[in-house]
């Protein structure tokens, strides 16, 4: 049953299986295991970024396509929900319409970019996606009447998904709409993640892998490479847009910095590389580690600096304000020691 759910793609490493199980249990029970708003917010972000990174892995890891427009698709989904909620009023219909519209817009844009540029060399596709993503970010900032410009948009989501909706208590945890909102994000992310796992393990996914390895060979066997690459781009874009919709539902705010910035694109790239390209499970490990580090490294370093206050130099090195430098060092080390990503390395160890 579980193997079927995973489309036959088992983790293929005991350590990896254990890690994935711990992450799944922590995410599934987050409202009951951890106290406070911050851990729940972190768990929701992890769910959304797992989906976003997995959708990028379909493109980069499975199809060998380098795109810099993934945050643009993410943003389209987020703005879809925001605009629908503003114009249609709070309600599930607005969330649904916004999500579908965002995903459709992402697919249409991906199709256009794909048909125009996937015929040419990979580097041109990467450059075109960079140009289009930059243009869209500028447009969003400029059309402030519609998008709120740099300030972004705030809007209301159905009351049933907000903290104002109090539902009682389970196991000592106050159940509110915020927790329902979290589980909406958790289950939608889980279902879409399993769907991506199904796609990469389908005959379609195998053709993508063949194209990644040797596009001419795949073409010479009889597969239309441009069609497959375009389909992969569209699927990936639609999933990224849905992740963006979930992000918008969770935050109740969208702005260029939170959904369209190039920093997020770099974060996604790092998460894919750290987790392991072409594994899908790498998205789970990469996104979890990255977001945990991003959220808690500063606090951890502050505590460490306090604990070592009597020592020379070390407290200054561990100063909480230097967290970004340590984050960078951690990522350089992880790429150095795990060139095939954490999942790739764990699988290699298991094979050995």
């Amino acid at each position: 049953m579980i193997v079927k759910l995973l489309s036959g793609d088992k983790p293929r490493s005991r350590v990896l299986t254990a890690l994935l199980l711990v992450i799944l249990i922590c995410l599934a029970g987050a409202p009951f295991i951890f106290d406070g708003v911050r851990p729940l917010d972190t768990a929701a972000r992890i769910c959304i970024f797992i989906l976003l990174v997995a959708s990028y892995d379909l493109l980069l890891g499975y199809s060998g396509i380098v795109s810099f427009a993934h945050t643009m698709f993410f943003g389209l989904g987020a703005y879809g929900v925001a605009l629908a909620s503003i114009h249609m009023g709070r309600g599930f219909d607005a969330l649904l319409v916004g999500s579908v519209a965002g995903a459709l817009a992402a697919v249409i844009l991906a199709l256009l970019i794909g048909l125009f540029s996937l015929r040419v060399r990979a580097i041109f596709f990467a450059m075109i996606t960079l140009a289009v993503a930059s243009a869209v970010a500028v447009l969003v900032s400029q059309f402030s009447g519609l998008t709120g410009g740099e300030d972004g948009l705030t809007y209301k989501i159905p009351r049933v998904l907000t903290s104002a909706n109090r539902l009682g208590e389970i196991m000592g945890t106050k159940i509110s709409g915020k927790i329902l909102n979290y589980y909406l994000i958790f289950f939608v992310s889980l279902i879409l993640f399993l769907l991506l796992l199904r796609i990469v393990n389908s005959p379609f996914g195998r053709v993508l892998q063949a194209i990644r390895e040797n596009d001419f060979r795949a073409e010479a066997i009889g597969y239309r490479v441009v069609w497959y690459r375009t389909m992969a781009t569209c699927l990936s874009a639609a999933t990224a847009a849905l992740a963006g919709s979930l992000f918008a539902i969770w935050l109740r705010y969208v702005g260029p910095d939170t959904t369209l910035s190039f920093e997020i694109m770099l974060d996604i790239l790092l998460m894919v590389v750290i987790g392991g390209m072409g594994t899908i499970y790498g998205a789970v490990i990469g996104a979890t580690l990255f977001i945990l580090a991003q959220t808690y490294l500063q606090n951890l370093m502050g505590t460490a600096a306090e604990a070592t206050s009597g020592l020379p130099l070390i407290p200054e090195l561990l100063d909480a304000d230097r967290w970004l430098m340590w984050l960078g060092i951690l990522f350089i080390l992880s790429v150095y020691f795990f060139p095939t990503g954490i999942v790739g390395r764990l699988r290699e160890q298991h094979r050995a």
Partner: protein, 240 residues
């Protein structure tokens, strides 16, 4: 000679600034094995790649089964019924042997009878069925490359030096598989340096020099005429 399944008429191909094929005229008869012979660097591999569409034909005409396919996309040529086994094998190293084979059957699930035949012809593939293709030996990779091209029935097979660098036992396995393929009625255009394989399999032969076909005829005639061999290729094939 029976009707040609493939015809090349005055085909010219450039690779970068080099004019490699300088007017190739070639016919591959239906249901026969045509050996494409010649010294290294005369354009044999480029001819196969031009037929498959990897290199664009600058001028001239390529027709397959009566259809002009000079401007056809690579995948369309494959779907029209041409199987291509390149010299570098072109297996998908990260995929398993099974996944490589399944990819070879583009029009749907692999026919069980055909799979059985291929696993009998190349038993090593059955042994390593679920292993990653990148872990196979050179000979096994070559077997996989040929078996994948045969995963579904194709009208014409373009095969580039399938026995190059292989152990004699694997060469005979390969030759036997090609013989069986020929017996099934397939047409084959084969570039082969191994003379005994060429002599055993070839019905007709075309010899290339300086980007052109300079001689065509029965393989048996070429195999028995040492003077002709030396004149066309500068060496006696018996020595190879």
């Amino acid at each position: 000679m029976s009707d040609p399944i493939l015809s090349l008429n005055n085909v010219h191909t450039d690779i970068a600034q080099y004019h490699i094929l300088q007017g190739v005229d070639l016919e591959v008869p239906k249901g026969q094995v045509t050996m494409l012979l010649g010294r290294n660097g005369v354009g044999k591999t480029t001819t196969l790649k031009t037929i498959m569409g990897q290199w664009t034909c600058k001028s001239g005409e390529i027709s397959f089964d009566g259809q002009d396919m000079t401007q056809m996309a690579v995948s369309a040529r494959a779907r029209a019924g041409i199987g291509f086994v390149p010299e570098d094998m072109g297996i998908f190293a990260d995929l398993t042997v099974e996944e490589n084979m399944v990819l070879g059957a583009t029009s749907g699930p692999m026919d069980p009878k055909r799979k059985e035949w291929l696993l009998n012809a190349f038993p090593a593939l059955g042994t390593f069925w679920t292993s990653e293709a990148g872990n196979l030996s050179g000979g096994q990779k070559q077997m996989l490359s040929i078996a994948r091209a045969m995963a579904e029935d194709r009208t014409l097979y373009l095969i580039d030096e399938p026995t190059k660098g292989l152990a004699p036992a694997i060469v005979s396995t390969m030759a036997q598989a090609l013989r069986e393929l020929k017996a099934q009625g397939a047409s084959i255009l084969l570039v082969e340096q191994n003379f005994s394989v060429a002599k055993a399999l070839g019905d007709t032969a075309a010899v290339m020099d300086e980007g052109r076909v300079i001689w065509t005829g029965a393989m048996a005639d070429l195999a028995t005429d040492k003077d002709l061999q030396e004149r066309l290729m500068g060496l006696s094939m018996e020595a190879h």
